[in-house]
């Protein structure tokens, strides 16, 4: 199945593009998607521990199963912002 992946901020700079399509086995989870994407872009590992995901514009846990044509976003975390 094909899933659209959007990337922002640090993730976008690592990937070199704001969005791309990933081809995954049916029933894959976000974790499986991220493993595959990280294989392609190893520098994403630097974000791995704190990266959030959204599926169809809602935050989603990493064990969420994906469906064809879902829109996933890689949401890099915060390291600040609370001091404004």
């Amino acid at each position: 199945m094909k899933v659209r992946v959007r990337c922002f901020a640090a993730a976008r700079e690592i990937v070199g593009s704001g969005e791309f399509i990933v081809d995954l086995p049916e029933g894959s989870t976000l974790t499986q998607l991220f493993d595959q994407v990280q294989g392609q872009f190893p520098r994403l590992q630097g974000l791995a521990g704190s990266l959030l995901f959204s599926v169809n514009r809602e935050y989603a846990p990493s064990d969420k199963r994906l469906s064809p044509d879902d829109e996933v976003a890689l949401i890099p975390p915060v390291s600040g912002g609370a001091d404004v």
Binding site: F8, A9, L52, R57, A73, I75, V78, G81, V84
Partner: protein, 140 residues
């Protein structure tokens, strides 16, 4: 009114948008780019948003506010793109019949916006740069 824009923000416009005949108070918040952050000298900021998710998340915050306080209207606008020191990055206005609701709701709005709305800023300093994003950890 909930928006992401690459144009300069006008708090005055937001205040007029939210003011109703029932309003006895309008509380507002303006976030501005400061020249120093965590001891480093800022040159400028670059803001980026996941617009299609950010605007619905702003609406969710407004829904949360309406469940907590008796308010008239809520407006939130975030600017994206290149911002210089002193420029406004985010503007919020909340109107309510009474000031305590307006003030509490406005403070809640900016705190929640920073937690859940997918907007990032790249701080560009004299000696480096770093992306900083939302803190949406409660969803994990």
């Amino acid at each position: 009114m909930f928006d992401i824009t690459d144009q300069p923000l006008s708090l005055e416009r937001l205040v007029s948008v939210v003011t109703r005949s029932s309003s006895g108070a309008v509380a507002s918040f303006l976030g501005v780019v400061r020249e120093q952050t965590r001891g480093r000298q800022v040159l400028y900021l670059e803001y980026e948003a996941y617009r299609e998710m950010a605007i619905p998340k702003m609406r969710e915050i407004a829904d949360e506010i309406r469940r907590k306080w008796n308010v008239d209207e809520i407006a939130m606008v975030h600017r994206i793109g290149h911002l210089e020191i002193g420029e406004a990055s985010v503007a919020i206005a909340v109107s309510a019949p009474h000031r305590h609701q307006a003030l509490a709701a406005c403070a809640y709005a900016i705190d929640r916006l920073k937690e859940t709305v997918p907007i990032w800023k790249k701080e560009v300093w004299t000696d480096g740069e770093e992306w900083i994003g939302p803190a949406a950890c409660e969803h994990q």
